[in-house]
Structures are given as C-alpha cells and as structure tokens.
Amino acid sequence: MPYKSVVLVKQVPDTKNITGEAMTPEGTINRAALPTVFNPEDLNALEMALQVRDREGGEVTVLTMGPPSAADILRDSLFRGADRVILLSDRKFAGADTLATSYALACAIRKLGEVDLVFAGRQAIDGDTAQVGPQTAEKLGMPQITYAESIVQLEGRSIVVRRALDQGTETVKCSLPCLLTVVSSANEPRPDSVRRRIEYKRAATKLEYKSLLAKWPSFGTEEALDAYLNERGLVIPVWSADDIDAEEDKLGLAGSPTQVHKINFVVLESTDTKEIQPTPEGIAGLVQELVREYIVG
C-alpha cells in the first residue's frame, strides 16, 4: 500500500575534510572556506524512503531547514528520486539549537498533513548530536526507532525494523506513523539519475532568482523566470516561520535553551618526544627502555 514519507535532511560543512583555512586567526569558524555536503546519513535515510516508495507506492517529500544555499541538497534529492522538496528558510530560524530546530521541523511536518513515515539520518557530521530526530518525534507525538538499519517488514499500519546498536542488533515492531533515524550501514544510497538530473537541474527557490538572473539574463525579470519555472514544476517551495504557523519565541536563538559559553581550539600538549631510529639497534633500545620502565611486562 502507498505510504506518505517525509525525509529530514541537512546541509553540513564537510568536517571530514577540514583544511587550515577552516579557522580564522581569531579562532572562529570560517564557513566560507568550508565545502558543504549532503549529510551522509541523511542520504541513507532518503534511500530507505525511496525504497519504500518504489516497492509500495506513495510519495517522498524531502524537507530541510537552512540558508538559501541548502537548496543544493534539495536539488540533489530530486536528482536521486524525491517526489517533492521543501526548504524551510527564514532569519527567524537562525541560531537554533536542536530543540528549536525540531520545533520548526515538527511544525512543517504537521503542515504536510497526515504522514506515515518520517526518516532522518541518525546524526549530522557537524554536531554529531543525534538529537533532532527523537526531539521531532516527541513534538509530533510519534514513536521513534533510532539506529534503524533495515525495514524487515512493512505491512498495513505496522513496521518491523532492525536496529544496529553498539552491542548487537534489536528487532522491533511498531505501529505507524513513526519516525526512523537511519544509520550508514543501512544501504548504499543510489546515485542521481542522468534523466532526473536533466529534468531538475533548473529547479530553484525564489531565494535564488537573483543569482539565476545573472546567469540567464535573457529572462529579464524575476516574474518571467518564476513563470517559466512554475510552468515546468521547477519551483522549490520556501516556507517561512509564518508559513508553518510557528510561535516565534520557540524558534531560532530565542527558542534555544543552550548557548555556547566559549570555544577553545584544540591545543596539542607539547610532549618531550624522543626520536628512535628505525634500525634494529634503535628499536631494541626502545624495547629495553620500555621493559626497564615496566611499561612492557
């Protein structure tokens, strides 16, 4: 039977490839110098949702909250097979911690009406908190299945999921609707399809119209561009705080209980380092020293 799914995704700085320029001399993060990526486990979440749709029918809506540039991962979602994408973007969302983020996401999901399944990556590589999924589930009053590795069975209003935990696996059965957070071992995300890439490469939010006009001056005005994209179903909707009926004091910085008190660079403690030559004599001397100091028994 067809299921209506929502996938929560995030555009993140590529923390696995941090270069020297990523930090300013003042010790703040130089976001401009950081390439952004589709949060890896969110791709696994998207893949799981797409597999459900391919097997059972229904539709997959991808939702992200972020700055205008986050439209990049929404286009990527379209290339990979999402039916519909939505960008939550508003200055009022800025500075949100996980609680305020989950509030905004929950408001947006409610606006989508009845939803059967919500998928999210287990955690994002910029914060590694793994909190937004469970917090969103709580706000929606939905059960949650974290660390989901595989949907063992989906039948009617019941789902059986295998969870990958540190100490093994656990298989649980739950009623729908429910929210799953998906781990990286769940699947191999499909690449984008060439056909869909051609079809959706011009998909854009209205926040991008200015820069698009610079690229395609022949459209002349934003209205003309909008009409062109709209006709082809290529306008990515942008939802603001008002659009999702959110209470302003629960959003962004104002709605975030946690605050950053201070940030310290990780400083390497200097250690007295003794250089050992990679020769039989050098290594034998090292072993003798370790034995002498009772480090090696």
Binding site: D126, D128, P143, G168, T171, S175, T279, I283, V296, G297
Partner: protein, 340 residues
C-alpha cells in the same frame, strides 16, 4: 532561591547489569553535587532491579528513585520517557545526566523535548561554573558547564543552559572515572509508581541479538592501532601480531575503519572508544584531532609514521620516522628476543 540543586543520573541497566557509563556518571555526579552542596539521585528503571539500588548508593548516590514495572523490562523509548518525564516535571532536578550510549542518546532528546529544556550531546567533561551573559548583563552562578568536542573534533565547546531546567547532558563512556564502592555508605531507595498510556506501548521488542564483544579496548593496558598508512586488511596482520606479542588489543583510526580494513569495534577516537592504556602504539596514523581525542591520555605513546611532520608525533613520547612494515617486524623480534 527555592529551586532544587539536585543532580540526577539516569541509570542504564540491561538484564540486571548496570552500564559502566552509568557508574562513571554516578562518580562524576557525586563530585558535582559535593561542589553544589546538593544531593545526587539515581533513577533506576526496569523489572526486578531493586537489588542494584544498593550498589548505586555504595558508589555515590544519596537516593535511588526506583521504577519497577513489567513494561520496563527491556528498554523502550516511550515507557521509559513516560516515567522519567513525569519524575522530572514533578521533582524538578537541577541537572540530569545520561550516558551517550544508544539508550541515552535515544531517551535524552525525547525527555529534553518533552520538558522543553536544553540537552548537550556527547560531553567529555562536566564542571560547575559561572556564566556571564553579556547580552542580558546577567551572571548566572553555578551552572553546569557542558564541555564537548565540536566541529569534527577541531574545537572544544563549552555549552551552558542558563534558564531552563534541568540542565541536561549525555556523557561519553570511558571519559569519567568510576569510584570504588563504599559498603557502609548510606542512602535511601524510594519506589516510584509507573502508569502508562496505550500510546506508550505501541512498540514491541521482537528479538535481540547481542554479541559479546571480543574487543576490549577500554580495559586494555596495551593498544596497537593502525591507520590509513597500514594499507588494507592484509596490512593489519602486522598490527595484530605486534598486539599479540605485547598481550594487547588492536585499535584503529577512523580512516582505517572507513576503508573497511578493520571493524568499527576497533575504532579509537571521538566517534569510537576513548582509551587511556599504559602503552599506545600508533602505526601509520597521522593523528587527526578526532583520533587524538580518544587516546591522548595514554600513559606512553609510540608513533610510527613515514611523515616526519605527522601531528601524532606532537603527543608521542617516542617518535619513529619510518615504514611500519619494517619497524613493526623489528619491534616484534626485539620483544621476542627479550622474552627468551
């Protein structure tokens, strides 16, 4: 100020065994409660787990809130969240701590959302201290300073939650030290009632396949770790052999695990296991911050790398610039020689 300053620890138990991380948190919580002049309470949920309560008091709890119910036998998000959320709303602790385990990371955010308070994930240190909010022109006294690596481990952030209560954090396993039991320590056990709604019971655990992990990184006194420089599964054979000769355990960097050369249970670092062995040998590991975060407190570090400028050398007591495929066999034969 009439606000309670009590510190609570959610105690994770599975089939009657208390998780190490919970015992570590009781020890840390005891230290923080003494600083605040307040009490440390443990919240223990399960079925027939009363016998564990005494143990929690012996290692530092002043009071154990004991929730026993058939529906709490195995951990499930909603029944546990129902009990804990109810207790928090009712008794208003000042601080609430969880282990950053799959259970703590599942339950913590659920409860934080329900009580609309802040939660900081994966802390590596907790302190009590003041926080001056320049924007408000207010100094908040005696807050929980929640210290955690951020941004892929490149920064250490101190997070505070000035106004909402409780101040909540999950804490990584292995970073706090346990206390030994004091058999004579006094404390109270208070049984609390549990009531569930039908919606709390929509999830059922069908089966569990728990493997007894054969990798015991945390308790090892010697760890030999391999990184990207080891070059695949075959290369790890040398690392294993050296670990074997030393009677130690095999570790790995994230790069090695991601490449598929070795299982994730071997991973040392910020997203792996935190270790502090007597001897740590890093072979072919450049020393990315995320790796160092998990091993820099080792007693002695030997680093082997072909790159003389590898960051790992900055924290190593012994620096060997060379090819691990030559250096490790030399170490093995020197160790065998010594054993004769």
């Amino acid at each position: 100020m009439s606000e309670s300053r009590n510190i609570w620890v959610f105690v994770e138990q599975d089939e009657g065994k208390i998780a190490d991380v919970s015992l570590e948190l009781i020890a840390k919580g005891r230290e923080l409660a003494d600083q605040l002049g307040s009490e440390l309470w443990a919240v223990l949920c399960g079925q027939s787990v009363e016998s564990l309560a005494r143990n929690l008091i012996e290692v530092g709890a002043d009071r154990v809130l004991l929730a026993e119910h058939a529906e709490l036998k195995l951990y499930r998000t909603l029944p546990y969240a129902r009990v804990l959320t109810g207790l928090v709303k009712d008794r208003k602790p000042y601080i609430l701590l969880f282990g950053a385990s799959p259970v703590g990371r599942d339950l913590g955010p659920r409860v934080a959302s329900a009580v609309r308070s802040g939660l900081t994930a994966d802390c590596t240190d907790l302190q009590i201290g003041d926080y001056e909010s320049k924007k408000e022109g207010v100094v908040y006294k005696d807050l929980l300073l929640q210290i955690r690596p951020a941004f892929g481990g490149n920064l250490i952030a101190t997070i505070v939650n000035p106004r909402k209560r409780p101040q909540m954090a999950t804490v990584r396993e292995g970073v706090m030290r346990m206390r030994s039991a004091d058999k004579g320590r006094k404390g109270e056990v208070e049984r609390v009632s549990c009531a569930f709604e039908p919606g709390d019971l929509v999830l059922e655990v069908l089966s569990r396949e728990l493997r007894q992990s054969t990798v015991r990184l945390k308790d090892s006194t010697v760890i030999v770790s391999g990184g990207a420089g080891v070059g695949g599964e075959a290369g790890f054979q040398l690392v294993r052999e050296l670990a074997h000769v030393l009677g130690g355990e095999v570790g790995a960097s994230r790069a090695a695990v991601d490449s598929g050369a070795i299982g994730k249970e071997h991973q040392v670092g910020q997203t792996g296991t935190t270790v502090r062995p007597r001897l740590y040998i890093a072979a072919g590991i450049s020393g990315a911050i995320q790796h160092r975060a998990g091993m820099s407190e080792s007693n002695k570090i030997i680093a082997i790398n072909t790159d003389p400028d590898a960051p790992i050398f900055q924290i190593a007591q012994y620096k060997i610039v060379g090819d691990l495929n030559e250096v490790i066999p030399l170490m093995i034969s020197a160790l065998r020689e010594k054993a004769k």
